[in-house]
Symmetry: C2
Subunit: 412 residues, 2 copies
C-alpha cells in the first residue's frame, strides 16, 4: 500500500480542474464517437471535472474500484469510500469499437458534455461490490439496487468537461465549484468551516444541530451543503430543500457572517458510514475543515447502526477534515430546543417527525415557531406552488416533469 | 524567574491539604496566643487549608505579593494573580509580641479555627498594590477600597486548619473540597469538566451560555461554581444564587450526567481579568479542565474592557485549564435563545436585564419561560421567603441577620 498524506486539503493535495476552454473543446471533440449518458453520469462528469471528487480525475479503473471495495482506498493509497463508475453494455462497446486509449465524447440533453479518455474497459463482481460498499446484497437497499442495475462493462479514465452546463434557478445562486467556494471562504475571512449535509428542509431541530456543531467545532462558519439529485416520491422537492435551508439565514436564524447555503449535485447512495466518509472528502475539497454527522447519516432502512458514521472515522487515517458527531435535537415543551445529552424532559419531547411535518405542510397549518420557523414554513409552501405542482413533496408528476437542475447549452 | 510547569493540575502539581486530626489539633493549639479574625480571613484559612488555592499553603509573604503584583507570579514562579493577605495592626502585633517563627491560633466565632506559622511580618505599599491588581487606585472600586482598608502589617506563613467549620444548610450539600470534588468527577466518569463562575441566579441566557460552552469545550460536564461570600445591598442573596443554579438541573434543564452545582467561599475582588485568572486556577484545583468566561467577567463599573478576561490568557503561560470565551446570550422573540454571533434579530433582542428580573421577582409575576425558568423563579421566591426576610435580594436586614454560611463548632 502506498504511503500517502490523507490530511492534505484538497484531498490528494491538488484540486482537480479539467474544464476545456471553448477553443480547446472544439478541437478536442472533432470526430469523436458520441455516447449519450444518463443524468447520473452527466452529473458525475461535472463534479469530477470541477474537482469535487479530487484526487479523482475521472471514472474509476479496476484497481481503484477494487481498492475502494476492499480497503477503502484508491490504488494511489488515498482514502476513498464509494465507487464512481461509468458503465456501458458490452454490445454498445462492441458497436462503437471502443478500446483502451480511445477518446469518447459523452453527450447529455443531445449536447456535447465531456470527453472521456478510456484508460481501461473492465468487468467487476457486482455482488461483491454491493456487499463491500453497502454491507448487504439486499435489493431493497437503493444503493444495492443501483449496483445490480449497472451494465456489465465499466470504462475507467479521466474526464474533461467540454461544455459546462448552466445551473438553473433556483439552484444557480447556490452552486459553487470547489475553487469558487474556497475563494468565497477566503473573501469572508473564514479559515475554519463546518459542513452540514442535508437532503431535507430544516426544522428547528436541524437548526440547533447546526448551531451546536458550530460551537463544538469552533468553526468560523457553517456551510450547508444540500444534496440535490435523485428523488423518490414523498421526499422534499429539491427546490424546497435549498430554499428552506437558505431561508434560515435570510430570515435571521443565522447571521450571514457565519452561514452559507450551497448545493452538491449527487445521487445519494445511502451507503451509511461509507457515504459519511465520502461526504467528508467532498466537503474537504470544498474547503471545509469540519463536518457534522448526526444520527443515521446517509442511512436507509435498518442497514446501519444509527451511529456507524460517528465510529467509522476511528478506523481510517486522519483525512484532514474533523468529524463533529452530534446527537439528537428535538422540541422540548420545557427547554425549547432540547438535546439528547442535556434535556431532562425527554418523556415529553417532540422529535418533530417528518411524518408530522409532512402533515402540517400538506394542510398548510402553521405550526409552533419552536418546531419549524414561520418563514421556512412559508417558503416550503411557496416552493411547492412554484416548482412542485402544488406540493412541497415529490410526486410522480414532479419526477416526470420537474425543471432540470442544469441544462447543457447548444455548442456552436 | 524560576522555570516551572504551570500546566500541572492541581496548580503546582500537589494538592495542598493542611487539616490537623483532632489529636494533632489539641496538641498544636495548647498555649498559643489567640488572634480573633474577621470572616474573610476565616474563609481564606479554610480555602487555603483545603487546597483551593494550591500551591499556596498559607497567607503570602512579601516575595509572593511582590511577584503577584509585578509579574502575576509567586516567588516560586507559578502563575498567581490576586494577593491573599492576612493583615493586623502594628499595635496588636506589638501587644502580642509576635515575631517571625511564632505560631498563632486564629479564632473565629470565639472558637479555634486554624494555626498560623508566622514566616514573615512585613509592610507593603497599598497604593502600588491597588494599581497593580486593579489597574486603578480609585476608592469607588470595591477591591481598591478593601486594599486601602488593610491594616499596616501583613503576616505571611502556612496555615493549618485545627477545627473544620460546619457548612450550614442550604449550602452544605454544595460544598466540596478539591479532593472530594476530584473524587466526584472520577465517580461520574468525567475526565473533562468546564467550570462556570456565577454570583447570580440563572436566567435562560445564563443557561444557554453554559450549554454553548459545554459544546464548545467538548467537556463531559459543567461545574457550576457559585461564589458565596461578601454581598452588597441589591445582590441576589447567596441562598437564591445556589438554589436557583441547582434548580436548573433539578428541574431538568440539565441532566445530572452533565451538570453539577457547587460553591466557592470567596469574597469577590472584582479584579476583572486578574480575577479571571484566579478563578481559572481555583477551578483547576477543583479538577476542572476548562473554564468559561463571558462578558465582563468579575468586573465592576467601567474599570475593565468587557472582554479583557478573554484576552489575558494570551499574555500568560498555559495554566493547564483551557479558557472558553463566550459572548452574549439573550432572549430573541424569533430564535428563542439568541446568541450574539448567530442571531439576526438583534434589534428585537431582550438581554433579560438584571433590573427587569429584579422587578418581576419583586412583583412575583411569573415571566416568559423563555426568559427565566418557572421552577427557578419559584425557588428564588421561596429562598427569599425562607432566608431573605421576604426578599430574594440582599437588604440591610439580611446583611445584619443572615444565617452564617458555616459555623465553627466548639472544640472539646
Amino acid at each position: 500500500m502506498a504511503s500517502v498524506d490523507n490530511t492534505m486539503s484538497p484531498h490528494g493535495g491538488t484540486l482537480v480542474e479539467r474544464v476545456a476552454t471553448p477553443d480547446q473543446a472544439r478541437e478536442m471533440i472533432g470526430g469523436l464517437p458520441r455516447v449519450p449518458v444518463r443524468g447520473q453520469i452527466a452529473t458525475e462528469c461535472l463534479s469530477l471535472a470541477y474537482g469535487f471528487f479530487s484526487p479523482l480525475t475521472g471514472f474509476m479503473t479496476e484497481a481503484d474500484v477494487d481498492g475502494v471495495a476492499k480497503d477503502m482506498r484508491l490504488a494511489s493509497g488515498y482514502v476513498w469510500s464509494v465507487p464512481l463508475l461509468f458503465d456501458l453494455p458490452a454490445e454498445q462497446l462492441a458497436d462503437l469499437g471502443v478500446k483502451e486509449g480511445d477518446r469518447l465524447l459523452l453527450t447529455y440533453q443531445d449536447q456535447p458534455l465531456a470527453v472521456l479518455d478510456v484508460e481501461q474497459v473492465y468487468g467487476y463482481d457486482k455482488e461483491f461490490l454491493a456487499q463491500q460498499i453497502y454491507g448487504t446484497t439486499d435489493d431493497a437497499h437503493p444503493g444495492v439496487r443501483r449496483t445490480h442495475a449497472y451494465q456489465d462493462r465499466f470504462l475507467g479514465g479521466p474526464v474533461t468537461l467540454v461544455n459546462p452546463p448552466q445551473i438553473q434557478a433556483p439552484f444557480d445562486r447556490f452552486f459553487y465549484t470547489p475553487r469558487r467556494m474556497r475563494e468565497r471562504f477566503a473573501e469572508n475571512g473564514w479559515s475554519k468551516v463546518v459542513a452540514y449535509q442535508s437532503r431535507n428542509a430544516p426544522h428547528v431541530g436541524h437548526e440547533w444541530l447546526m448551531k451546536s456543531a458550530w460551537f463544538a467545532s469552533g468553526a468560523d462558519a457553517i456551510l450547508v451543503s444540500a444534496v440535490i439529485g435523485e428523488k423518490k416520491v414523498g421526499d422534499y422537492i429539491d427546490e424546497a430543500v435549498i430554499l428552506g435551508q437558505s431561508m434560515l439565514r435570510e430570515a435571521g436564524y443565522f447571521l450571514p457572517a457565519v452561514h452559507m447555503t450551497s448545493i452538491l449535485l449527487w445521487d445519494m447512495r445511502y451507503a451509511g458510514p461509507r457515504e459519511a466518509v465520502f461526504h467528508a472528502l467532498v466537503r474537504k475539497n470544498l474547503g471545509c475543515t469540519h463536518h457534522m454527522f448526526g444520527r443515521d447519516h446517509a442511512g436507509v432502512g435498518k442497514y446501519y447502526d444509527p451511529y456507524a458514521a460517528h465510529r467509522i472515522f476511528d478506523e481510517i487515517p486522519d483525512v484532514g477534515i474533523k468529524p463533529v458527531p452530534t446527537l439528537e435535537w428535538f422540541y422540548c415543551p420545557r427547554c425549547g430546543p432540547g438535546y439528547e445529552r442535556l434535556c431532562g424532559h425527554q418523556d415529553q419531547k417532540d422529535p418533530i417527525s417528518g411524518t408530522w411535518l409532512r402533515g402540517v405542510i400538506a394542510e398548510g397549518v402553521k405550526p409552533d415557531q419552536g418546531k419549524i420557523r414561520e418563514e421556512v414554513f412559508d417558503v416550503l409552501l411557496e416552493a411547492g406552488q412554484q416548482y412542485g405542482g402544488g406540493s412541497s413533496f415529490v410526486s410522480e408528476g414532479y419526477l416526470a416533469n420537474r425543471n432540470p437542475v442544469y441544462t447543457v447549452p447548444a455548442m456552436d
